[in-house]
Subunit: 440 residues, 2 copies
Amino acid sequence: PEFMDQPSAMAGTSEPNRNSKYDPKKPHITEQPITRANWYKHVNWLNCFFILGIPMMGCVAAFWTPLRLPTAIWAVVFYFWTGLGITAGYHRLWAHKSYSARTPLKLFLALVGGGAVEGSIRWWSRDHRAHHRYTDTNKDPYSVRKGLMYSHIGWMVMKQNPKRIGRTDISDLNEDPVVVWQHKNYLSVVAFMGLIFPTLVAGLGWGDWMGGFIYAGILRIFFVQQATFCVNSLAHWIGEQPFDDRNSPRDHVITAFVTLGEGYHNFHHEFPSDYRNAIQWHQYDPTKWCIWVWSKLGLAYNLKQFRSNEIEKGRVQQLQKKLDQKRSKLDWGIPLDQLPVIEWEDYVEQAKNGRGLIAVAGVVHDITDFIAEHPGGKAIIKSGLGKDATAMFNGGVYMHSNAAHNLLSTMRVGVIRGGCEVEIWKRAQRENKDVNYVKD
Amino acid sequence: PEFMDQPSAMAGTSEPNRNSKYDPKKPHITEQPITRANWYKHVNWLNCFFILGIPMMGCVAAFWTPLRLPTAIWAVVFYFWTGLGITAGYHRLWAHKSYSARTPLKLFLALVGGGAVEGSIRWWSRDHRAHHRYTDTNKDPYSVRKGLMYSHIGWMVMKQNPKRIGRTDISDLNEDPVVVWQHKNYLSVVAFMGLIFPTLVAGLGWGDWMGGFIYAGILRIFFVQQATFCVNSLAHWIGEQPFDDRNSPRDHVITAFVTLGEGYHNFHHEFPSDYRNAIQWHQYDPTKWCIWVWSKLGLAYNLKQFRSNEIEKGRVQQLQKKLDQKRSKLDWGIPLDQLPVIEWEDYVEQAKNGRGLIAVAGVVHDITDFIAEHPGGKAIIKSGLGKDATAMFNGGVYMHSNAAHNLLSTMRVGVIRGGCEVEIWKRAQRENKDVNYVKD
Ligand code: HEM
Ligand code: HEM
Ligand SMILES: [Fe+2]
Ligand SMILES: [Fe+2]
Ligand SMILES: [Fe+2]
Ligand SMILES: [Fe+2]
C-alpha cells in the first residue's frame, strides 16, 4: 500500500533536521558503536546548534537586552500560541485526528505550530504516529526505554538511523492542503513565524525590535521546545498508570502544567483519538479547553470522545490487574484438591480421640493451637469439634467475619469424602447403612 | 453454659448506672413508645446527672477556680493515664484479650481505667463484646444504626431494656482476680481514682486542692468520657472501610487522634484480637506504642498479631468487592451466548456484499461506522473485512490496546459456528468438503 513506500523519518529533502547527504544504500554511522575516535560523527551537530547553540547565544544576548514589560507579556502570549500550535494542531488535530478544523483554524495552527520550530506537521506527525504504534520499542523514535535524556532531546542531538523508525500511514496528511503547503514552505514558515513575526510585533508595536527578537523569538522558542519535549520524556517517566501499565506512558499533573495539558499521557496513549487528555473537569488541560471553545465558535467540529463506559472499563481492568498481582503474592491456604480425602467416620473418630478437628463446609481443619485463642471463647469453639460446624460457623451461632474465614482456610488438613454431614447422612440412607452422625 | 446465665447488662446490683429496682418479670419502660406524657420516664436521670450534670457544674466552678500551670499539666497527664486505662486496659486487654499483662500492670490499668468513670471492667467488657458480636444489630448496646447521638451517649442517658443487649461469654473475666476485685469495689475505686487521687496529687504536690478537684478531676473525667465515647460514635461514622463494608466501623485519623489510637476501627472490628489498631508505623496509635513498651519492660507479654498475610487477604477481598460493584455497572457488550450463530460462509458472503463485517476471535463485528474513525487508518482496517482478523488485530499487524479490545466488544453482531477460520478449515478437511476460506 501507498503508505509503506513513504520515505523514512528525517529522510525527506524538504524536511528540517535532516542530513541531505543521506544515502539509504550506504551503511549508516549508527550501525557502528560509539567510540572515542568516532563519537563526534554520531552527534547531529546541526540539531545541536539549533536546539542548544542558538538558545545559549540568546541567553548571552539577553544580558545586553533589557526586558520590557510589553515584550515580556507578548513573549508569554506567543509562547502559548506556538505551544497550542503543537498540542492542539500538530498533535491532536493532525497526528491523531481527534477533531476536525475549518481552514482558518487549520492555517492558524499550521503557522503558530511552525513558530515552535519542531519540524513540519507532516514530519512531526509521522514520527508521532510511529511513537504511538511502536511505543517503547526500537521502532519508537523517542523511546523512553533508551533513557530519559534520550527521549527528551537525545533522539535529536544524536544521529538516528532513518531505517529504524517504524512506518505509519500518513495518506490523510498527504491529502490535506494545509499540511502539504506547510511542508513545502517549511523553511519560510519557520523563519517567519519563529523569528520575524514575533520581532515585527514587538518592533512595530512598541519599538522593541531587539527585545522581540531575543525574548519573543529565540528564548521563547527554547522554552516551547523544552516544554513540548517533556511530553516525550517526563510524561513517560513520572506519574500514575490508571489505564495500562504494560507501557511507559504516565499521568502526572506536573507534566500537564508544563505541556499545556498533555500530561495525562497514560490516558492519551490508551485513547489517542480522544480530543481530551484530561477527562475530569478539575484536571489542567488548556488545549482541550481551547478546542472546545473553537467548536463553540464553529471553527472546530466532530470532537471525538471515547464513551465513558469504555474508559471506565479500562480503569476497572487495570485495577483488576493490580489486584490480581497482589492476590497472587498472598498465601491462600492449601488448595482443596491437594488435601487428603477423609471419611466422615474417621474424622469423628479422630476428634473423639482428642485431635482438635472441626469440619466446616466439607473441609476438616486442625484448630488445636487456636482453641485457646478463639475470640469467641474456648467452650464455644470446642462445642464444634468432631461435628459438622458449617452452620454454627456461618451464622448459626455466630456469623464469622471475612477475617475468620481467611484464618480458617489456613488450618485445612483434609476434605471429607461426600461433602458435609447432611450429604453423608443422605447417602447412608440411600445405601441403607448406618452412619455415626453426632447428636447435639 | 455458665455465661448464658449471667445477668443482662446493667442489671447487676454491684454495677454503676443501673436501676436497682429493676425486676426482669415486670414490663420494662422501653416496651412503651416515648410520648409527651411519659418521656421523662425514658430518661436515665442518674446517668444524665453523671455524664452531663456534673461536668456542667464543673464548668461553672471553673469560673472561680484559677487554672495553674502544674495543675493543667497534671490534668493532661492524668487524662492520658485514665484514657489508657480504657483503651489499653478495658478494651484491648480485658474485652479482647489481645495481650496478657502481669499483675502490677493489671492493677495499674484497673485503677486508672476506673478513674475514667465508665463502669467496671466486667460491665464494660461484656457490653463491648456484645457490640462486636452483634455489631449494628438491635443486640448491639451502642448500635450506630440508631443514630450518631445514640451511639455516643444516647444509649446511656436513655433507659435501655436489659433484655435487649446480646449475651457474651465473660467466664474468663470472672476468673480474673483483678477484674473481680475492681468490680466488687467499683464505687470506692471510682471515687478514689476519679476524684480523690487527682485532687490529692495537686493538693499535696503544689497546694492546689480546688484546681486538682475541678480540672484534673471533674473536667478531665468529662473529656476522657467524651473522647472514648467517640469510639462508639465517630469510629462508626466517618472514614474508610478497607477491610469490610458490610458493617459500620470505619478507619479515620481524626478518630484516632481523639481516642488514643482507637480510630482504625474498621481494622479493629475485623481483627479484634490484634493488640494493634493501626498497623502502619506512621499511623497514630499511642495505645499500641504503650503496650509495646510494656512488653519490652516485661510487664506485658503474648502480644497477639494477625499474620500480615491474613490482613492483606482481607484488604484484597474488599478491593475486589468494590471493583466488582464498579464492573457490574458498566456495559460489557452483548454476552457471547446471546449472539446469533453465523456460518463462516455467510459471514464471508455478507462482507463481500459490502457489509462492514470483521471476524476477530470467532466473533463477528459490524465496524461500518468505525472504518473512517479507525486510528490506524481506513485502508488497513478495510484489509481485514470478510477475513479472520484475529491475528492481525492481536499483533500480526498491530497489537491493539486494551481500549481497542473493549471498543471491539461493543460492535459484536454474531458468533461464527465452529470458532475461528482455522477450526472451520480443519473441520471441513475432516468432513472432506470445500470451504471458502480467503487467501491474502
Ligand atoms: C472453626 C474455626 C473457628 C475459627 C477460625 C474462628 C474464628 C473466630 C474469630 C477470628 C472470631 C473473632 C470475630 C470475627 O473475626 O468474626 C470469632 C468469634 C466468634 N466465634 Fe469463632 N471461630 C471458629 C469456630 C467457631 C465455632 C465452631 C463457634 C461456635 C460454635 C464460634 C463462635 C464464635 C463466636 C460466638 C464469636 C464471637 C466472639 C465475640 O466477638 O464475642 N467460632 N471466631
Ligand atoms: C476490527 C476492529 C478494530 C478496532 C475496533 C480497532 C481499533 C483501533 C484503535 C482504538 C486504535 C488506536 C490505538 C489503540 O487503541 O490500540 C487502533 C490502532 C491501529 N489499528 Fe486498529 N482496530 C480494528 C481493526 C484493525 C485491523 C483489522 C487492523 C489491521 C489489519 C488494524 C490496525 C491498526 C493499526 C496499525 C493501528 C495503529 C494506529 C497508530 O497508532 O498508528 N486495526 N485500532
Ligand atoms: Fe507518548
Ligand atoms: Fe499522541
Ligand atoms: Fe465498634
Ligand atoms: Fe473492640
